[in-house]
Symmetry: C2
Subunit: 260 residues, 2 copies
């Protein structure tokens, strides 16, 4: 058995999730905290990589003794979140812990993931949304939102999303199934939600940039299928900045949504 953790983090202070030498990353903090709490060097395997400045409302990892598929500890699982949090910085928080099979893999066993992209749509910036939403000052009216929503709907389905992948990214194949995509406004915040069985590098940020191009009338929503079919990054919109992006949920076949 190895340990499965659900956590959240504010990505502002980190160079993304994945360990990169001595740079501050979420994985590095988790590796240090687990070594301190469990008294052994640990392998931490994550559900995803997130870029510098990207946040997670839910991120999943497994923890095992270095080089093994096992973690042994006398700490009962219900105590692990608070115990680990005492070793973690305040911008990372473990919410939930349980033991899972040694064969479980937090990346390969994902059924689907959901991302949220937050746009702060107000003429002046908000001190509370700094580093947490993309500030887009020009008002997006109901007609613009309706067009964004129509375009988002056209992302749904099984497609080759090469047009929505960062140039230079390498991947075995670029076919992904988007099961949900929607745009809604809540006060000054516009949220784009998208769920899929997997995501290409920068996919949600390019989807968001394309929705903004639709809102601005630079791309018609009926062009989305053509942009997808073109398999050409240059046809889609800009890459929206990292700090508006949140990994929001990660769903597995065999792990209940709430284990506590």
């Amino acid at each position: 058995m190895k340990l499965f953790l659900r956590l959240s983090y504010l990505g502002t202070a980190y160079n993304g999730y994945q360990v990169q030498g001595d740079q501050p990353t979420v994985q590095r903090e988790l590796t240090r905290a687990c070594a301190e709490l469990f008294g052994q060097r640990c392998d931490i395997v994550g559900c995803s990589r997130t870029d510098s400045g990207v946040h997670a409302n839910m991120f999943c990892v497994t923890v095992a003794k270095k080089g093994s598929d096992e973690l042994q500890t006398s700490i009962p699982e219900y105590r692990i979140p608070l115990a680990l949090n005492a070793h973690l910085p305040e911008d990372i928080s473990v919410a939930d812990a349980c033991f899972v099979s040694g064969e479980f893999h937090p990346r390969y066993d994902v059924k689907y993931k959901e991302y949220i992209y937050r746009i702060y749509n107000s003429p002046t910036r908000s001190p509370f949304e700094r580093d947490r939403a993309w500030h887009y000052p020009k008002h997006l009216d109901d007609a613009a939102l309706a067009n964004m929503q129509r375009a988002a709907q056209l992302y749904c389905g099984t497609h080759d999303f090469t047009s929505f992948m960062a140039q230079g990214a390498t991947v075995a194949h670029a076919v992904r199934t988007v099961t949900h995509a929607s745009v809604c406004r809540n006060g000054d915040v516009i949220e784009f939600r998208v769920a899929a069985d997997g995501f290409l590098y920068n996919m949600v940020r390019i989807m968001t940039g394309t929705l903004i191009a639709v809102a601005e009338g630079k791309i018609g929503c009926q062009q989305i299928p053509d942009i997808i079919a073109a398999k050409d990054r240059s046809r889609a919109g800009m890459t929206a900045p990292a700090h508006g992006l949140y990994l929001n949920s990660v769903v597995y076949e065999n792990i209940p949504k709430e284990t506590l």
Copy 2:
């Protein structure tokens, strides 16, 4: 005519609103930014004082040339918010500017103010609520919330609120009229909203601490009138921490809610 500004700020980095020597305060930043933008030394008068760590969704100030009731500038008022924001740190943002009579006073002319106190009620901390809500880990169920709501209702009316004023604070008289007080839950966040014609020092934070004592069964909600009548700080609950408190709105008789 002098300049009237509505602004918001994240109070985390500041020793409150009011200038205190060389310490970082919101008023100090505004004074510096106005001097830079308008090319003259300015008096900034605020609607209130907020403590270290307290936030404002809306805070109002007037700006006039030092020692006068006038501000002269060739910058049109609709351009002032963005122009000032370029001189302010990112945790302060001016939303709105207009010219008002030189006799207008942003503190004495307040009709009522509303505060929100945010409680983050979840067993584990949230990276996103750090410094922005009081983390109260023990679950407050529907019965506890109903008692808090009943107690909040009993704050309404015109009372001497000495029991809800920090010990040692001095004030001409402690009678205030609370026009609205309510408690509601939105996901993991419990919000206490309270509006009044004025507030005593720490009044909202002591009201919040008292509501928590009610939720915990340490104070019965029917005791609230006795606690008010006692005019004795020791009868009310603890002072909730500063970082959950937001000045949410400031309403004047003669200034429209939206000037832009």
